[in-house]
Amino acid sequence: MFVSNLIPGEPVLSWLLVIIAANLILYFIRHSAHQLLDSLTLLVVQNLKMLSHALVKTARQMSKRNREVLLEHGKQQAERELERQFIRLGNLVEKDLARYPTIQRNIEQNISHMEDKLSQTSEVPAPLPEWTEAVESITRLKDTTKNDAVVGKLLQAIYEAFHKQQGEVLGTYRKDIEKRHGLLKAAMGHWRHLLQKIEHLHEQWQNLNEQSKKVDLQVDRFENMVKGTDKAERLLKASNTTQFVISVIVMAIAGFGAFVNYNLIALPMSELMPATSQVAGYNVADIGAAVIIMLELTVGLFFIEAIGITRLFPVIHFMEDKKRIIFAWICIIFLLALCSVEAGLAYMREAMVADKALLTSFLVGGEEAVSASASAEHSNIPMIGQMVLGFVLPLILMFVAIPFESFIHTGRHVLGNMVVHLCILASTLARSFSIFMKQFNNSLKHVYDILCFAPLWVEHMIESKPDSTKKVQAELDRQALLESDSSKPKKLKKDATPETQKEA
């Protein structure tokens, strides 16, 4: 080896020489090496700090943007809810107030009926007969005439007539009273009717009050959204995450449904589309089946949008009501047509499977097997089941529009939050790495110092001489400095003298 033969025949010495030389070299370039390490570390650390700073800034901006998006979405939701509450309130008011004139008329009728009855009951009883005046004139007769037989007969007749008349009047009076009682009894029905109407009105007003309280709550919520309060944000965040998870679960279930649907129509599609062609490694027939399902989903999405359940497409949402209804009809017709196509394909699938089974039995067992298979009883239930599935599944899949809307709206915020957290994580990692780099740099410098420990030790020994020696040395230095200072002005004086003399 070259190193061990540096001094021929003295490998140990050679190695020692090399180590000493290396130590010296390392010692002499120590400062530069340390500077190089520091520079490199500084470069990495500064870049990492910048990256971390940028990531934190991005996270902050994203968070701000997320908050805006979240509040905007919440505002939209609150708007929709408020709108719905107002519609309910409007319907309630419309329904109740529309009947108000009828109720009012009814009450007035009842009141007038009752007034009539009351006025009928307040009729004055018939006055006493006029013969009382005759009785009075008889009483005014003289006593002599009073004992007269004629007068007695007359009085007797009057007395009898009076009794008879009294009986008649009493009978009439009783009849009148009875009649009035009957009238008042008839008025009781009107009273009850009136009472019912008023109670009904009371209930309606209570409903209205409850509805208005709900509207108040919604308005408060909406105000909170507009103000962008922390409470509103917290509530929205929790609600958004829950909605996102629910929509993902529902969409996954819908995905399985679509997969079942796809398998139902993939085979018969090979009858309609060339089974021998492929696009990107997939059979054209399979792609066709997938496209049909996607079309069904799209048409279903449009239908749900057109009837106002979702608000994914502003163009549809802001259409005139009449046009929107026409559009909804068109969508449902297309959807039903596609459902029918699927049901037909499901029927065709069953027929194809049966044909394939017949062919296989023919190839395996010949004509006998075919006739045996044909004569065997077959149930139509699977075929009917498949057809029903083919018709119903697209209609069920149509409702995926609702979780899809929720997914789109909430996904934006959830994704944004994820990005924010990733940014913060990356920033933390960058900072941690920069700290690690600093420590690593220090460690490297220490390792370097260990490698050239001998010269460093000597240097340290020189630097840490005893204090007395240092003091003596310092005194000598000071004296030398003073001497040099005192000699300088003299020199200056000497130099300056000829000039001043000249000036004088």
Binding site: A275, T276, S277, M352, D355, L359, V364
Partner: protein, 215 residues
């Protein structure tokens, strides 16, 4: 302007899809049936094999069955040939007709005096090259003992690159029983000839095993 862009985009998409459309890999299978001497007794087995492949082949695949007789390099020796329609129902119908034709042939087949395997292979090669499927298989249902009539020349280069030649049910002759090296030598010669022509060689004697029959 926007309308024009939309139309251009639509046409572009259609063109891209059209360019992406490719033909599904197809299989071409040519089965040669030895009808010489006592080997005709084995043809019932061949019928089962044909039925198996009829069940396996898919729309777009091609299948032909030809006989090996005294002079096999002739279109008259082709018993049945078909390229299955892309519609499965039509393909099933074609399979039924094909099967019926083969059944009829096996019932009425006459033994031939000689066995011209090379002529059959040449005919198979021409047929498959004409159809040009992605995978080309030639199956020879024979004892692989070639016997040519006087004056027939079959010592040509077969030139079978991209072909897989499969010998099925290679039965042992009486002479093979006396001297098995003849049988081995015969197979070795055929293997060498096929491989020198650029094709690959395979032999299946256990026809009950479905895995070995798989293409």
């Amino acid at each position: 302007m926007i309308k024009t862009i939309k139309i251009i985009a639509l046409l572009g998409a259609v063109l891209i899809l059209g360019a992406c459309t490719q033909q599904k890999p197809t299989t071409g299978l040519y089965l040669l049936l030895d009808t010489s001497g006592t080997y005709t007794k084995e043809l019932k087995k061949a019928q089962q094999i044909i039925h198996y492949y009829l069940a396996q082949l898919e729309p777009g695949d091609s299948f032909a069955v030809a006989r090996i007789d005294s002079g096999s390099f002739s279109e008259t020796d082709i018993i049945a040939k078909v390229t299955f329609d892309h519609r499965p129902s039509r393909a099933n119908e074609q399979k039924r007709v094909f099967s019926a034709t083969i059944s009829k042939f096996i019932e009425t087949v006459q033994s031939s005096a000689y066995t011209d395997i090379s002529g059959g292979l040449l005919l198979a090669k021409e047929y498959l090259n004409e159809i040009n499927p992605n995978k080309k298989y030639i199956m020879v249902f024979s004892d692989m003992q070639e016997e040519l009539p006087k004056g027939y020349k079959r010592d040509f280069e077969l030139n079978l690159p991209g072909f897989e030649v499969i010998a099925l049910n290679v039965t042992k002759l009486r002479s093979d029983n006396q001297d098995p090296t003849q049988y081995m030598q015969r197979l070795k010669n055929w293997q060498q000839r096929i491989e020198q022509s650029g094709g690959t060689w395979r032999m299946i004697n256990d026809l009950e095993r479905e895995e070995s029959l798989a293409l």
